[in-house]
Symmetry: C2
């Protein structure tokens, strides 16, 4: 595997990026495929500044992307202009899959900070799949993961109180950031309270109030956008109870 990484000029095959979805894609595909074909997969890198769009809703599908550093938020627009944030994405997350079939992006993706992106051109997705049968299988897996993630969010939005949602959200961010075994963890939020509220289906003020309450109860320590989870066990029980 490491020898393969050396041979390939593909950004996301480096060990550093082992968590990256594109890496996984390349790796899955790489088994019995010749390298020149693989080269057609990952082509460019991109750097986005805070607020810049990776893609917009309705634009024609040209590529899928993976986050290398930084973070991206995706959102969809309702008919009336309201905007629902559908996720915050960092290291390794693959974006743009929802466009594979419809041919246009169905949500928009914005950088929340300076962000490095791995681009995989897919203008010829159909042909690529013929050349690389494993590719479709991998796409299937990634999409099904997406479905499962979305389901969790639906459960969150539909059945949980604001407090439960926020606790779950904090735990989630800690997990994707550091994967601590227990006790304590530090989270650096790249999104505003407003974004969190939007994502979790509550008002910005409610986010603030509940964070403050958590802090008063000793569960967390707030330092602007850096939040320390002091008692993960307790947070977990908050996120589940009703």
């Amino acid at each position: 595997m490491s020898s393969k990484a050396v041979k390939l000029p593909l950004v996301c095959t480096s060990a550093v990026c082992a968590k990256c979805g594109i890496y996984q894609l390349c790796y899955a595909v790489g088994g019995d495929t010749d390298l020149s074909t693989l080269d057609t997969l990952v082509k460019k890198r991109k750097i986005l500044k805070r607020g810049e769009f990776l893609f917009r809703e309705g634009k024609p599908f040209q590529a899928i992307y993976a986050v290398r550093t930084g973070s991206i938020k995706t959102s969809m627009l309702a008919d009336d202009g309201r905007n629902q944030i559908t996720g915050f994405h960092d290291l390794g997350k693959v974006l743009g899959l929802d466009a594979v079939v419809t041919g246009t992006y169905n949500c928009e993706a914005v950088a929340m900070e300076t962000t490095a992106i791995c681009e995989v051109p897919f203008t010829n997705f159909g042909e690529l799949c013929k050349k690389i049968p494993e590719l479709q299988r991998k796409m299937l897996e990634i999409m099904s993961l997406e479905i499962l993630d979305n389901r969790d969010l639906m459960l969150l939005l539909g059945k949980m109180t604001a407090e439960e949602r926020l606790a779950a959200c904090l735990l989630n961010m800690a997990k994707s950031a550091e994967t601590p075994p227990s006790s304590t963890s530090r989270v650096n939020l790249s999104m505003s309270r407003n974004d969190i509220g939007n994502y979790l289906g509550m008002a910005e003020e409610t986010v603030c109030r509940i964070l403050t309450r958590f802090q008063e109860e000793g569960l967390i320590t707030i330092q602007r956008r850096q939040i320390t989870l002091n008692d993960i066990g307790q947070l977990k029980s908050v996120s589940r109870r009703k």
Copy 2:
């Protein structure tokens, strides 16, 4: 196409079932595939009575299913036992796709009334895909549709008031039931008020109250589980405003 339908003993290639996902699957696949291979696709029919399970969460993946008549509700269980209904499904809907990758079903599916099901064994999904390359492509399409549907539901749960949600839900059911061009439509609910509330993230009583309010405003007429939409235009504007 119709000649093909005659030759094939597959339930879902009949014209009656043209809206059926499995039919679409067979059709997409059928182009340049020999019929004996197709025969391996759709095998059995099943009849479920109200309350019977099509599959349960955690059970090993063995088949995908399509609804021919009747209706199915799918739901997922939270850690604490709470249960979120993720959808109501009738004619043509394909179920069980979320299990393709994980190998076990990730939600449970129950018949809401006597329901006829088309079963497509997929114990050998990987091999099937090798034989029929178009199959994976089609699966990809179906899954991406699922993702888009779920997103709509997320928007519903996260951003809309109870009134908006219920209006949207009624319109949705009318659409899948009859696709009327305008004005008036009749919907036969196969699910209880309780189920609707669960699905839309509100209490059963709230569903009742809002339905009553809609009726008082002349938007709908309630006759037990048969609901007539008297003014679809108005309902649409209710479902969007804030």
